[in-house]
């Protein structure tokens, strides 16, 4: 994964700029949620100027997926046990004795 600071690098002149989003108004140079601002920049072109290079939507999605996986680690895998394949089942041909001839009503 590309480093967060590299992927969402803020132009030096905007390090102290405040953009209010995601329940915070900290300067851009200190934000750790610039992935959200980068996504918004695809709706508001004016926000793109804050980034050295606006990441692509795919890069943002990949970053967010990795962050999600970090915060939600998958459950540890079950220990692998060797499974012996079962013998193929034999085809059973119905015989008169195997056919249920009980016609009594079940209560």
């Amino acid at each position: 994964m590309e480093d967060y600071n590299k992927l969402f690098a803020i132009n030096p002149e905007f390090q102290e700029t405040v953009v209010g989003f995601n329940k915070s108004g900290k300067p851009l140079g200190t934000r750790k949620d610039l992935d959200k601002l980068a996504l918004m920049a695809y709706h508001n072109k004016g926000l793109a100027k804050y980034f050295v290079n606006l990441p692509t939507k795919e890069q943002i999605a990949e970053y967010q997926a990795q962050e999600f996986n970090k915060k939600n680690p998958a459950a540890p895998a079950e220990p692998v046990t060797k499974v012996t394949p079962a013998a193929p089942a034999k085809e059973v041909t119905p015989t008169p004795s195997s056919v249920n001839t009980n016609t009594e009503e079940v209560k």
């Binding site: 405040v18 209010g20 995601n22 329940k23 915070s24 601002l37 918004m40």
Partner: protein, 195 residues
């Protein structure tokens, strides 16, 4: 669907409350809102427009009003196929003094050729924006809010209200959008009071 796309409304399963908690006024020419990044079209971000700076006098300015005296409403009406929402914000500001006069003078400055924008934080936590001018870097149709209908009253008895009930009104084609970027985003962009 054949004539018009309609949708239902899902009632939020959380307790609700009425009233206004806090209000900020801003110069609509200073602020740009971002819309469209969330599925419900709310405003998700706000930033100063290029050239506007806090030190230069831009920003959100808090209006201190008497507790539970604020109200925002926007009755809707229609003529033919034209729709109007009559936005109206009223606040009671205590103490008839020169600071109050100066505040009202600054609001009057917008009467001639400018407008006013307001951020309204409701007691239920939802934040509304009225009077905005720039969305996604583009100028939207004029959403003009002005001080109109303000009443100054000294009261008579000791325990009468003393101050002004300031009113801000403006018609627009739709209800107010919500700002979902959080109140801290607004506070961070507060301007420096001039008085």
């Amino acid at each position: 669907m054949l004539a018009v796309q309609v949708s239902g409304y899902t009632k939020p399963c959380v307790p609700n409350t009425g009233g206004i908690s806090r209000v900020w006024v801003f110069d609509p020419a200073d602020m740009d809102y971002t819309q469209g990044a969330s599925p419900n079209n709310s405003y998700t971000a706000v930033a100063l427009i290029g050239g506007a700076t806090i030190l230069g006098g831009s920003g959100f300015f808090a209006i201190g009003f008497d507790y539970l005296s604020g109200q925002y409403k926007a009755p809707q009406s229609v003529k033919g196929s034209s729709i109007k929402f009559a936005h109206e914000l009223s606040l009671h500001l205590p103490s008839l003094d020169n600071d109050l006069t100066n505040f009202m003078l600054t609001m009057m400055n917008a009467l001639a050729c400018a407008s006013l924008g307001f951020v309204i934080e409701q007691n239920n936590g939802h934040i509304l924006v009225i009077g905005e001018q720039s969305v996604n870097g583009e100028t939207i149709p004029l959403f003009r809010i002005q001080m109109d209908g303000t009443s100054v009253d000294s009261g008579k008895a000791f325990d009468d209200e003393n101050g002004a009930t300031v009113m801000f009104k403006g018609d627009y084609s739709r209800p107010a959008y919500e700002f979902t970027g959080g109140i801290d985003a607004i506070i961070a962009l507060q301007g420096t009071p001039i008085f």
